[in-house]
Symmetry: D4
Subunit: 242 residues, 8 copies
């Protein structure tokens, strides 16, 4: 077995600097590496979050830490030992979102059913970081009444995360309806000229509507983290600390 | 002076095969070449249409054929000697559309003011070919109520031409509202990641809404011709001839 | 089991707005999701169409709805409970096209044998929507007499769908022979510099012939739907209703 | 002279929906069009903002509205007739930032001197919308001590805008130092493999640091607007209104 | 004035190795450089050929060598002091082709009038190298009868050069009609998705017809040289020499 | 079982027009389709050639036609029933090249061991069409003496086929040494910035040496056919027939 | 069994010209080919190095040469029969680096844990060529203190190899801290807009810091060899020989 | 007039950290900015180097500092007030290279005459930093004997800079002849598929020869600096200081 510091230099200071402990990117790591790193983070921070985790990653971590929780639909793996009400629990997105008692208000919406895993990754990320989060599925522009009937919900949010594949038109439409920031997430859903998310990415970057910023293709985690930084319970708390 | 057949092989049979005489693509031709070819076509067909014509092209043709007409805003140059009511006249898009007595119904709409030249090229092309055509400007998705209040007009059309630059989202939205074909035209309006129309092109090709087909970037002429073939007064007439 | 509305917002109004019920895009959905959505649509509309369906999707739907029909060669799965003569039946493209009694006339042709699955998807789509459709295979430009001897058939169509991979030259040639719209479908057939259909796509978008509009790579379904909207039995019927 | 509604459909409702009146994108519009639209907006909202304005645009607007102000270094043109302290004044970025009395705190920083026009566009946009804004120039990663010595300033911001061309590395570095959102703006500064900003754009989208979202290449305006929506004096005010 | 060997290492041996003296690529060279190099080559070989020459290049060379000849339409500049019948003369493509008494048979054809400069560059290159060459203009696939009526001419050639822009479909069609090699030349004629010749280039590389090889976009010179090497009077002569 | 004409329109006239019967592109066809088409071609022409054939294709054809021959290393499958000396035999490239008694002289050379399958496809294709062909392996530019010591062999050829992956520099070097045409074949050998052959393709298209034309990535078959058309025993024979 | 010279032309002179024997690129070669070539090289040079070797390659070589050594984590396979102290031994990167007694000083550092295999390939390559080499893992810019605390180590090196995926920002930062050359290696670590290493590659090529040169994506071997040529024990030795 | 610190944060410490003062990238800066920054640097370091300087930049700087020197052919502008023998003088590349008394040995060679400006930028940069530098022009692979006859010169260098446009094959060839590092510089010389240097860039990155690292397209400055860091008089001096 290889010592953890031969392959990783954990950044234990990140929680202080950036408001949340280092998050483990599971892709390309062995189950042993993921388990070792997540255990170490949990020991230090009462909290460990792994994204793009496979079933093998989950099994390896659960063997070491039986209280680890795995959301298969979007590859989120976590340990949460914080006291209530901060702690989140569950193995589906719905369970986790309703288990939380976050602050502020984030609304995550996605254009199609196949964009759902990315939207769930965003919602759970924001939720575990401490934001109250709602998820709205399958409201793409081909049937525009579906999103137009949700304007009250949209208006209640401090920030919106809008997830879409194919031509990625939903963020432009939504941004024209609200006065809060829209974090757009292109997905790789589509084929041919979608070029694995490139069409949606370019579309969102060139949106004719103001207030839209964009993250990497399929980067639900990144969108969730940014939305949380905008919604910002921690920032407010930090202010209070002073 | 060079003889016309050293640089061109005019296809006088095209009107019979394809329903409209050969159209001259002005770009990259000298004023003399454009003037000679257009004169020859007008002599044969009572009609000559030049696209992407410059002021120099127009001056050269008018010197030879004083009844030529030039629409500067979209670079259309034409001679129309057909008898009324087929003949069109005017030097602005508005004049030409109202001078015509075309059949059927085409609606051309564009997302922004800067997409207007392309939309005008489409509308005048369809009009000169014989289709009744209406133009609707600046109804992009950032203010979605602008297009939603036009649903009656959209529903009255046999075919729609939808022109948009930047992320090119308008065709997806429109196609979800109607049951007729939508011909989408991406424009090169935008900067940076619009990559001179590529973002709009990919967006339209990967539209999540059914019924959308696409032409080349800034190809208003092509869209007008396809819309006319769909609206198809000539086809109907041809049927009657049998 | 997850409730259908946690992952889908069915658009039951689409048949009214767009002339045909919502169509299910099978790719990326689980067999359970496809079966549930298709059953729900069939219950409402007497009709459900799934594209890019796998054998697993077909098995799951047939278990729930034994009258479902699967065309393996092009991944079309459908339930059709409409009364004759509207109803279509069969499990091969040939059976389905001959079972139908559609209106108007669509001709679908493809350049090579390997483009056939995409051409079949287009033909069956148009057929189930109500258009009379004919399919012509392996008539690419490398042996140009093959398409030239079919000019009478081409001339009889209200709209053509032309499917081609590699350099995608067939639509340009065909469009120069007819006066009806040509819907061009690039396919991913080829290798190297075809870049999975990009060469054919660019070629069709920049066609020197008028009257060609283009859909996404391998998008037989989209082409069939557009061709049907052009051929338009429903539109004619709607007119009659008034 | 052409009537304004033949080329534009002004969205006077946008201020209510999105918190700020429609902004005019100058590029590709004639001086007459810009002057007419800006005058109309100023008459309605006491405020008109034009981006990517040329000296000709400025001259045309000033002829009609002598109180218009033009910031040549970054192409911003505006009329501000709001009462103090909301009103901003000046013709350089420095004058405008110090004339304002905005709320909250935005820090805009750029990597090199040549990125300055984009950074100024962002800063002035945020400022005119109502945010207190600071600008920090030429602090790129090749001399990393320049940004490290500014950590106190960075920590005081509610949101950061980080502007960089070439490889666009600055946002990754900055995002690892703070717990607030970072809006990254790639610029077209560079040559060769920077591909007019593509290298910086891709780099920012794939940042290894959390909390970074991205706007279009050279889109200082967009970044300023998003930063303002995050900093959000208006949202806070709206809350108070309830 | 700078000595010629500070910027060029002339390859006087090339005529022996490759069958024709070094050819000067004019683009990016100063008039003085072009004049000096061409004079030096003419002194050694009785022949100097410059491609992509501007009027300034031509003037500089003519000042030094009054017998230099410039074909403005395609930027060819040459000095030919070989004895008749090898020598070519003239300042238009037509004059030059008819002045020559080359061996074998090359047919150069192009799809549209705007492809003519590239086709002329190919034809003159082959001609000056010693091949009998014929030029056929404006026979693109949109009016396929134009090329089909030229089959006898095509059949008489030892090699064909086929020049086309936009979708570049002509080589595929031609190659299916003959049993000799086809050298395909994509041109930058077109706009939008032609991406300055990329669409034609990819199309020609992925041709479904056998016997097509491709040169760089707008590379008429290269095609002419390859066609000559195939037609090969020199090679035959060399054989005879043995 | 499906009738052959439902999926293929065999072009039996191609041997007359193009000098060799239609060749079957195996990729994407079922074993049954390949076997049926190859049998039909062999029955008509005494010859059938399949490229990109898999072991399954070979097994299916051998079951029907036991005299079929399969070269596994490069996926060539063929039936040759022509009388000697035209007939070729063998199951390795070396056996086939030495079994043949072709006319003229083609030299195929490749840069690295991994380019060998493509080079073999070219060599066998030229050989079966009737050209005497020699193959030279692993003579890339990193050890330039390897090709320089082969100049006599290069000089003996009527045409060269040069195969290379990675940066694809070999054709430029070779073309500077000879006066015959060079057919360059980029291969997909390499990784990273070779982008599956794109680097080699672009390099060959922009060769600074004259006389190089290019075929698609990995298109050994195409290069062999073009080389044969240049070497041209059939063309010479046709001449003699007259 | 096939003779080695039918597929390879070994360049036994390379050690003299280039300072190190030919290295075998394992990818795309059969186990038999790799074993035969490596045995032949080891017999001539007492040393054989294979990169991108699989477990099958390793097994085949070990069967023939039991003293072969395989480093699975980065696919390095080698035989080293040189006398101590030149000889290296071991099957992990750590073992090999500490077994060596190389000259000069190379520091290899990588941004993340997943970049480690590429960094190891670089380090072992430099080590086997004769350079003293140190490896530093997981010091990316998101936690910039990790690299800043290593400045003394960086300053001790004659050359640095910096390995990074995603946005590839680390080389820019490091190059601004030192006065020695930085060899940057982009990796394919990342997803979406990293486009398999393209984002990192472009970022490194457009670095705002001086002193950075770049190798192909994932090309640890190339970087190691260049670093060794810079560090240059052999060059120094060669000097001494004179 | 604007104060220098409103647009620049000069990094006066860079000479200590990186061995040479900050260098000014002229492109995109005004003459005033360039003059002010260069004057400031010269006052501090006795030395100021500006790259990509225009004649306007030169005039502005000379007005302030009459001892500034401008090399028009490659856009280098500098002030050198160091004592002899370090000081360089002259306004052409040849003058400057011969004025210097640098240490070590760098050879810069370029493939064609049009690559010369980039090669000169590299040579002058290395020279001013303190390296003895030789320049060799027009030795591309199309006439391979030109470089092969220079092997003795190549062998004498501590490092080579190889500059080439079009297919960029020269570095691969050169790297196979030497045992020192090769810094490859792709140039934008070429047209069509060279895509402004992309073909050369990709070719150099995927070189089959070892020891090649690459800088940005047209980045002569970068290559000169890296070559100097490799040749490294300063590093040696620093060693001596210890």
């Amino acid at each position: 077995m290889t010592a953890i510091d031969s392959y990783a230099t954990l950044d234990f200071d990140r929680a202080r600097r950036c408001g949340f402990p280092e998050v483990v990117f599971g892709q390309g790591k062995t189950p042993e590496q993921v388990a070792a790193i997540a255990s170490e983070l949990a020991a230090t921070h009462e909290l460990a979050l792994v994204t793009r985790a496979t079933a093998e990653h989950a099994a390896a971590l659960k063997a070491a830490e039986p209280d680890a929780s795995y959301v298969q639909s979007c590859g989120i793996l976590f340990i949460d030992r914080r006291p209530a009400p901060e702690r989140i629990t569950g193995t589906t997105c719905a369970e986790i979102l309703s288990s939380a008692s976050g602050q502020g208000k984030i609304v995550v919406c996605c254009a199609g059913t196949s964009d759902l895993p990315v939207a769930e990754e965003a919602a759970i990320t924001a939720c575990i970081m401490g934001s109250a989060t709602t998820l709205l599925a399958d409201v793409g522009v081909a049937g525009v009444h579906r999103i137009l009937t949700q304007q009250e919900l949209l208006a209640s949010a401090r920030v919106l995360v809008v997830v879409a594949g194919m031509e990625g038109a939903l963020p432009s439409l939504v941004a024209g309806l609200v006065d809060v920031p829209v974090v757009a997430v292109p997905t790789s859903v589509g084929y041919g000229a979608s070029f694995e998310g490139l069409a949606a990415l370019l579309g969102m970057l060139t949106s004719c509507a103001g207030g839209v910023s964009v993250v990497n293709i399929d980067n639900g985690f990144g969108a969730g983290q940014i939305a949380h930084r905008i919604n910002a319970p921690r920032w407010i708390k930090r202010e209070e600390d002073r």
